[in-house]
Symmetry: C2
Subunit: 208 residues, 2 copies
């Protein structure tokens, strides 16, 4: 496992032309709207989408321990697009020949070290529909912890990945995200925040 020795630093940001980009592209869409009028729209896309037709998975996860209350594992990593540490659920791109379920189990093991059981798979969701065609599926997984879980399993990170794992009891989930968001150079990912806010909303409005 590589050692963190310094804070990441951005050294330059330059305009990138679509013809020179490896991972992303901009597209101009021409379309005829509901009233018959011709219009244009600009969109960002990934160049990596495979057969599944879905870019990515995120793993909503519940860690179940014989004695302790249920918790969830969040991951914190430096994200150059934001020049910040983001707080997210484990996630990753779906490989060309994978299903969402297979990608979820593989990525969860790589990023967290834990084996998981898939409990549900959402329909494809639009990540940011006004700006991009990126889509993803939310895969909910359970992790069964041993009675003695004092040694966390080893991550299998790719070169360049530095991912911190934090286990948060579900009862503190929303409050902890609000705390992270208040820290200097930390940003919570919108999907994670919305899930926790939905939990919080149901609880405070007694919608059970």
């Amino acid at each position: 496992m590589s050692t963190k020795t310094q804070e990441p630093v951005i050294t330059s940001i330059d305009d990138l032309q679509t013809s020179e980009a490896r991972w992303l592209a901009l597209k101009r869409i021409q379309y005829v709207d509901q009233t018959g009028k011709s219009r244009t729209w600009e969109v960002a896309t990934r160049k990596t989408r495979g057969k599944a037709g879905v870019d990515a998975v995120a793993m909503g996860n519940v860690l179940r321990h014989p004695r302790r209350p249920p918790a969830t594992l969040i991951v914190i990593q430096y994200r150059p697009p934001l020049d910040a540490y983001t707080v997210e659920w484990p996630a990753g791109l779906i490989d060309a020949d994978e299903t969402a379920e297979q990608a979820a189990v593989r990525e969860f093991k790589e990023e967290t070290g834990y084996e998981c059981r898939v409990t549900s798979v959402s329909p494809p969701q639009a990540a940011d529909p006004g700006m991009s065609n990126a889509n993803m599926q939310l895969v909910m997984v359970d992790v069964d912890l041993a009675e003695d879980d004092s040694v966390a399993p080893e991550q299998r990170l790719e070169d360049g990945e530095h991912i911190e794992r934090v286990i948060v009891p579900l009862s503190e989930f929303y409050d902890r995200l609000v705390e992270y968001a208040a820290r200097d150079r930390y940003v919570v990912a919108a999907k994670l925040f919305h899930f926790a806010a939905g939990m919080q909303f149901a609880q405070t409005n007694k919608l059970t």
Copy 2:
């Protein structure tokens, strides 16, 4: 209000160079990582971010009626990036001189016709942190409906906007989103789906 006379049709999709784009850009970020190694990352950005430093707001909303159970209003619109009708909470870009709260009240009125009261404003959240620097704030609002709400207020849509409003009881929120996701040419936005999934999770796991 403009009339919907046909289904939208995409007539062409072309590569768009950053130098020719009006709303979006690709950037190449050079950075030095935690171990001192130089790396690059590709990112999509908006060209429109104003003083607030945040691109957009979404309005999580609760419609409160004197007699009926609480409901929420979702909006459905054709989104060229996905060539599909997306199901979302009302949302919009924050204007250069606006706060998130001001943008929320203005956009909610424009898209839905309803006046709303802001009940909470989230910290900035990263919309899709692996791919873009886009960020947003979730503004929760309440709408107080009159006893007789049989006539919906008029929307103030911009030229080219065609937004269908649907009121969903909160008790049916998650199930209705799953139904929409199963329809041909419909996609649910990830943030909305995650909020509803969080509510559903809290309810089924009795986390109150």
